[in-house]
Amino acid sequence: MSALLEVSGVSVTFDGFRAINNLSFNIGAQELRAIIGPNGAGKTTFMDIVTGKTRPDEGSVTFGERSVSLLALSESRIAQEGIGRKFQRPTVFEDQTVFDNLMMALKKPRSPFSVLFFRPSGRDAARVEELAAEVGLGDHLARKSGELSHGQKQWLEIGMLLAQEPRLLLVDEPAAGMTLAEREHTTALLVEMAKTRAVVVVEHDMEFVRRLNCKVTVLHEGSVLAEGSLDHVTKNPAVIEVYLGRG
């Protein structure tokens, strides 16, 4: 199977601190992957590199069948290539309605001039309604998203990601601040999404990772320490020492 995202030999240094150290790994086109690791292991930096926020000092990151190098692209171009990112805190545009939020995310030409002359067709509006229903916000389209509860904002953000139709989705601690029921709903959504695209979840919570039931990559000091099923990596003595042992 050819990889959708290929990270190889990537290193990045901040003021002498090596945040990512010769990191290499691949993600397939329809794969759910969890990334775990202690604080400072480089999880967020890894996401920043893939989405173009941080430029690595060396190494290569390629994406898609044509192996496009992401290192030369701006954040917005990378997003247009089909990489979506969900932040830990829900970041929706609170001043605008749920409908406007989703309409903005809908996959359409993104240049200023095409957006200026864009007027949503009936089909676009129907697609937005469908997405809202999918994440359980069908009745809230006209509400300002700032009025929504924390959980609803998370759903809205997931809806916006779906609207973008990304091929690779990076999700940062999706379960943070959620109730048990909301976690279960989130797990189901992530597993469902990974059937048609690649989903990478960065997570602290081992229970949550266990529920995802997928391949796990353990990061430590900026490189891969172990990879495999959760049971496999938790038996690895090195992993136990740096991460689980601190428990």
């Binding site: 001043d95 605008q96 957006v115 949503p120 943070a176």
Partner: protein
């Protein structure tokens, strides 16, 4: 079936209606076309105020919607004024020179006329030749094109450099202010080619319209300003009503998130910055023929700060707020600084409003920012029964928009 543009934005219709009634009213009260109740100088003040409303509209787009606190838009405004002023002054001086040379025994050559114009305009700064920047001053169409092109290209170049290196927030404001100051200092020099601190004058005399009285001209310019404001308002409302406005407001609130949605934030900022610079320049080109004079003091940074104050007091993030703020504050300022406001005698001191007005304005700005961030425009929300909840207590959830303690228990 989707609603039409105006039915989705009823405030646009209301605004245009009020503007039309106002224009009609002023016309009927003018010297030239009505009962002569309003003096010609007051009609000029009103016409100038409409131009200030237009530049405030531009400021609201760039600041209230896109979140770029530009302190350079009055520089674009003044540049527009300079560009039209060059033609006005050249053509008017040419008329005078041709008249003066008509008595000579031989008909004047084009070279003689050109020399005469140059020494008339530049005698005051000790020059007798037309600088290169006046190359197109003889032609109205070319100089009108420059009204749009010079500020537009300056904004494009400046914006490209600033936005590309991701300068944001207060740093960008400082940068725009530095640009404004540099431009003003340059124009203050006598060899800048624009008559240094003398500026351009006599702009109220429109070449070719010598037979038309100022009474009439003032109303014509008033109409033109009203038409420009109406057009500008329609254009601005159309710009912010659709997805473009949605993206602009999103950039204001969280530009990093907008990048990850796939929008090139820099492109959008550059677009709105340049567009509003051009709108400001057009407003300036209508303003200065009514003011009659332009000099480099007009584009000192303080002018752009005033612009921000108008928009803040009127209520940023809503188009009619900017217009109300500019009209209200600038007319009030005219009244106070015109010496017509009565002095207040406190016994130990006398408050003379000419001096104290700025303190009052500064205080008003601070109070509006602290107590009524919605500005005067917020009164409309209040009248419509929309109230922003007073949110107190610690947040319950990790998100900023999460319910606050006291809300949850209510």
């Amino acid at each position: 079936m989707r609603q039409g543009f105006l039915s989705r934005n009823p405030s646009v219709l209301v605004f245009l209606l009020i503007l039309a009634l106002f224009t009609l009213g002023v016309t009927l009260l003018s010297h030239a076309y009505g009962s002569a109740f309003l003096s010609t100088s007051f009609i000029k003040t009103l016409g100038k105020t409409l131009c200030l409303c237009l530049v405030a509209l531009a400021m609201d787009l760039v600041w209230g919607y896109a979140g770029i606190l530009s302190l350079g838009h009055m520089a674009f405004f003044a540049l527009g004024g300079y560009m039209i002023g060059m033609w006005l002054m050249y053509a008017r001086t040419e008329e005078i020179v041709v008249q003066a040379l008509a008595n000579a025994p031989l008909p004047a050559t084009p070279q003689e006329i050109s020399n005469g114009v140059a020494s008339q305009i530049f005698g005051v700064v000790g020059g007798a030749e037309l600088p290169a920047v006046w190359t197109f001053a003889h032609s109205l169409p070319l100089q009108l094109a420059l009204v749009v092109l010079v500020p537009g290209l300056l904004a494009l170049a400046f914006g490209w450099l600033a936005f590309r290196s991701r300068v944001t927030g207060v740093y960008l404001s400082i940068l725009t202010q530095a640009m404004t100051l540099a431009l003003a200092l340059h124009l203050f020099q006598n060899d800048s080619g624009l008559r240094g601190n003398n500026g351009l004058s006599g702009l109220q005399n429109i070449p070719g319209l010598g037979g038309v009285s100022q009474d009439r001209l003032s109303v014509w310019f008033f109409w033109a300003s009203a038409a420009a404001l109406a057009l500008g308002y329609l254009l601005a409302a159309w710009l912010v009503s659709g997805k473009f406005g949605s993206v602009l407001r999103a950039i204001r609130d969280d530009e990093q998130r907008v990048r990850f949605l796939g929008y090139s934030v820099e492109g959008y900022k550059l677009f709105i910055f340049t567009f509003t610079a051009v709108v400001a320049a057009v407003a300036g080109a209508l303003y200065y023929p009514q003011a009659g004079i332009i000099n480099p003091a007009e584009l000192a940074p303080i002018a752009s700060i005033y612009l921000a104050v108008w928009v803040a007091i009127g209520g940023r993030g809503r188009l009619y707020g900017a217009v109300i703020g500019a009209a209200f504050v600038s007319l009030l300022s005219t009244w106070f600084t015109g010496g017509r406001a009565p002095d207040v005698n406190l016994g130990f001191a006398t408050i003379q409003w000419v001096d104290w007005w700025q303190i009052l304005l500064g205080l008003a700005f601070v109070l509006v920012t602290l107590l009524a961030p919605q500005g005067i425009g917020g009164l409309f929300d209040w009248a419509a029964g929309l109230r922003h909840p007073a949110r107190r207590g610690a947040p319950l959830g990790p998100a900023e928009g999460a319910l606050q303690e006291r809300e949850a228990t209510e």
